[in-house]
Amino acid sequence: MKKRVLMGVLAAGMMMALPMTAQAYDIDELQVNIWDNNQLAGLQQIADEWSEESGVKVTINVVDWDNYWTLLEAGASGGQMPDVFWMHSNTAQMYMENDLIYPLDDFIAEDDAIDLANYYDGIVELYKSDGVQYALPKDHDTIALLYNKAIFDKYGVEYPTDDWSWDDVLAAATAITEAGKDDGVYGYALNTSNNQDGWYNIVYDYGGQIITEDHKGTTIGSDEGKAGMEMVRKILEVAAPQTTVAETGTDSLFQSGLVGMITQGSWMINSFYKAENSADYAWALIPYGDANGNGACDEGERWSCYNGLGWAASHQVADPAAAYSLISYFCAEKGQKEQAELGVTMAGMKGVSEEFANAFPGMDVSAFTKAETDAQLYFRPYTRNTTVWEDALQQAGAFLDPWQNPSDPDLMASACDAAQMIIEDAIANE
C-alpha cells in the first residue's frame, strides 16, 4: 500500500514535469504479478515495447509460487488484486466462477490480432467458464529428460537418446548409482512433488490417468496406474533417497553434479542454461513407457504433460481496456513469437515456437519442441480445487511412504489405492 502511494506520488510528479504525450488510457501504470523469476527479463522487455506504444508503465512483480496464490486469494477477498496476472490450471475455475477475473469476450471480438482457434485447445478451454473467455493463453510447455554428460562419461554409461524407454533410464540409473557409490553420485532423482514434470508422465505412459478427461475421477488405483507407479518405484530404488531430495531439491542436486538424470519442464530451461556447468547438460526426448513390452514405442506409450498459463485481468481493474491491450500484446502473434525467441517460454499460439529451440545458443533444447510431434500431449491434471489432492498425494499417507521405502512393491500398490481415495474424496468435496 505504501509503495502504491509512493508510486502514485512519483507518477503524479512525473506527469507535472513532462508535457502530456498522446495518452490513450486513464491510468499511468499497470501492476502485473507473475511467479517465475526466469521469465521476468523477457516479459519486461515485451511489456516495455507495449509501454512505448501506450504510454502506460508496466511494473512486473515476482512472487514465488507458494506465496503467489496465498497473496492473490487474500487480494481477491480483500479487493486488492494486481491489475494483470497469470492464471493456472490449479485454480482457474475457482476464480472464474467467482467473477474475480475480467471477462474478455467483448475485447476479443473487436481485436483483429486474436483468434482463439490459433491457440492450444486445452489452454483455451481451461480459461473458459460458461462459454465466457476469462484469460488468453500465454504459453505452453513440455517435458524432457535432462542429463549430465560429465557423469555419464565418468562412469562409462551411454548417453540417453530419443529412443529411450523408462527401462533404459532405469538401467542407466542403476549403472551410475552403483559406480558412483563412493562419490555419493546417483543416477536419478525424483521427488513426490515432481508430478507434472515427473511421475505423472510415467503413469500416462502405462495407460493410467491422474484425472480422467471429464475431470471427475482418476485411474491411479487401476492396474495401469499401478504399473506406471511400479516403474517409478524401480527407478526410485536406485535414485537419490527421499530425505536428500526433500532437503536439497532435485534441481540443486543435479546442478551440484550429484545426479545423472532428472526430468524437467521447458519453463525451467533458463535456470540450467545459466548454471555454472551448463556445458555438461543435455536434453533428450522424454522417454516412453514400454507397456506392452515389445521394445518399441507404440501409440499411447509416450506422453508429455503440457500446461498453459493464462494472462488474466482483475475484475476491478481501473482501466480494463488498458489491461486487455497489454494482454493482447503478450498473446498476439508478435508477442508470442518474441516470447519464444527470447527463450522466455514456448508460445500458447500453435506453430510459432520453432524459434524457441534456437533461443539458447550452445544448448540443444529441441527435445521440447520435438515432444509436440513425437509424444502425445495431455493437459496437466486439474479439478476445481487441485491443490487439495495434489498436496495430499505428495505427503505421508500417499506417495511419501513408498518414496521413503521404495524396495517394497506392496507399499507402492497400496499408496496407489490411497491416492485413488484421496482424489475421489477431494472431488466429492469440491
Partner: protein, 295 residues
C-alpha cells in the same frame, strides 16, 4: 452517570475518550473483529474468497477434534514449547547475570546476543536450513557426521527447537537485564558481609527478586511458542518425511485455510488453539499467585 458529572468532569471524560480512541479503534478493527469473525467462520462451511458461507453448526469441530493430525500437531507444538521456553529462559538468565557485571566489551556482547532478534525470522530459518542440510550442511561437514537433522522424525523437532532458542535468548536476556537492574545493590552487599558466596546470592536474592520478570517471560514465551509457524514453514519442505511429526498447529491452520482454501476448517483449528492457550494461561495465573515473589 453523566448527570452527576460536573461540566469539567464531562470535558475531561470527552478528552479521555478521544485519547484512547486510536488504540480502541485499532484493537476493534484489527483484533476484536477478526477474532469474532474467525469464531463465526469456524461454524461455517466457507465459500471461496469469503463469499457464500453456510452455517454448519459444530460439523467443523467434530471433524477437527476427530482428526489424529490435530492432536499430533498440538503435541508437536507443545514439544516445541518444551524446548524453547525452558532453554530460552535458563540460557538467557545466565547470560544476563554475566553481562550485568562490569566486564570488558559488555555492550558488544549484549549486541551480539540480541542480533538474532533483529533478523527477519524467514532469513534466520533459511540460514539454519542450510546449516542443517544433510549433504552440504556446515554442521555435518564440521563434525564429519551424516545426521539428517531436519528429516529424521526423532531429531527434527529438537533441531527446530534449537533455532527457536537461538532466536529468542537475546530478547529474554534484555528483559532479564532490565529486571536485574531493579534489584537494589544493598542486598548483595549485606549478603557478602554475612558470608554468602556467589551461588548462594544468586539463588537467594537474584532468583526470587527476579521472579516477576521471569514469570512475565515464561507467560509470553509459552504463548509465543504455542503459535510458532515460520520456523517449520521455512525450514522444512512439504515433502519432508518428518513434517507430520514437527508441524505446529498454526502450520496445519495455514495448510487448510490458505493452501487448501478451507477457511472454516482452518478457523476451527485456531479456535481450538485459542481455547488451549486460554487454559494454559489460566493455570499459569494460578501458579503465579503461589510462586512469584512480590515485594
Amino acid at each position: 452517570m453523566l448527570k452527576n458529572m460536573s461540566p469539567k468532569e464531562k470535558t475531561e471524560a470527552k478528552w479521555g475518550l478521544l485519547f484512547v480512541a486510536p488504540t480502541m479503534i485499532g484493537l476493534i478493527v484489527l483484533n476484536f473483529y477478526p477474532i469474532f469473525n474467525t469464531i463465526y467462520q469456524s461454524f461455517c462451511k466457507t465459500g471461496d474468497f469469503g463469499k457464500g458461507n453456510t452455517f454448519v453448526g459444530l460439523a467443523n469441530y467434530s471433524k477437527v477434534l476427530a482428526a489424529p493430525e490435530t492432536w499430533q500437531s498440538l503435541w508437536n507444538t507443545i514439544k516445541y514449547a518444551l524446548i524453547e521456553v525452558p532453554f530460552g529462559i535458563v540460557i538467557a538468565l545466565i547470560l544476563a547475570v554475566l553481562l550485568n557485571k562490569k566486564v570488558a566489551g559488555r555492550s558488544v556482547y549484549r549486541t551480539i546476543f540480541f542480533l538474532p532478534m533483529v533478523c527477519a525470522p524467514a532469513a534466520v530459518a533459511m540460514v539454519w536450513k542450510w546449516l542443517y542440510n544433510t549433504q552440504f550442511g556446515l554442521l555435518n561437514n564440521v563434525f564429519h557426521t551424516k545426521v539428517a537433522w531436519i528429516s529424521d522424525p526423532n531429531i527434527a523437532w529438537i533441531s527446530i527447537g534449537v533455532i527457536g532458542v537461538w532466536s529468542i535468548i537475546g530478547y529474554n536476556m534484555v528483559l532479564f537485564i532490565g529486571g536485574l537492574q531493579e534489584i537494589p545493590g544493598d542486598y548483595y552487599e549485606a549478603a557478602s558481609i554475612d558470608g554468602a558466596n556467589g551461588f548462594r546470592q544468586f539463588f537467594s536474592i537474584t532468583v526470587p527478586l527476579l521472579s516477576p520478570t521471569t514469570f512475565f517471560i515464561v507467560q509470553t514465551r509459552i504463548i509465543g511458542a504455542l503459535t510458532v509457524f515460520d520456523l517449520m514453514f521455512m525450514v522444512m519442505d512439504k515433502t519432508n518425511v518428518a513434517l507430520k511429526k514437527v508441524q505446529s498447529i498454526v502450520y496445519l491452520f495455514y495448510q487448510y485455510a490458505f493452501t487448501n482454501g478451507n477457511k472454516g476448517y482452518g478457523a476451527t483449528l485456531v479456535v481450538v488453539l485459542l481455547v488451549f492457550i486460554m487454559i494454559v494461561t489460566f493455570i499459569l495465573q494460578q501458579v503465579e499467585k503461589r510462586v512469584v515473589y512480590h515485594n
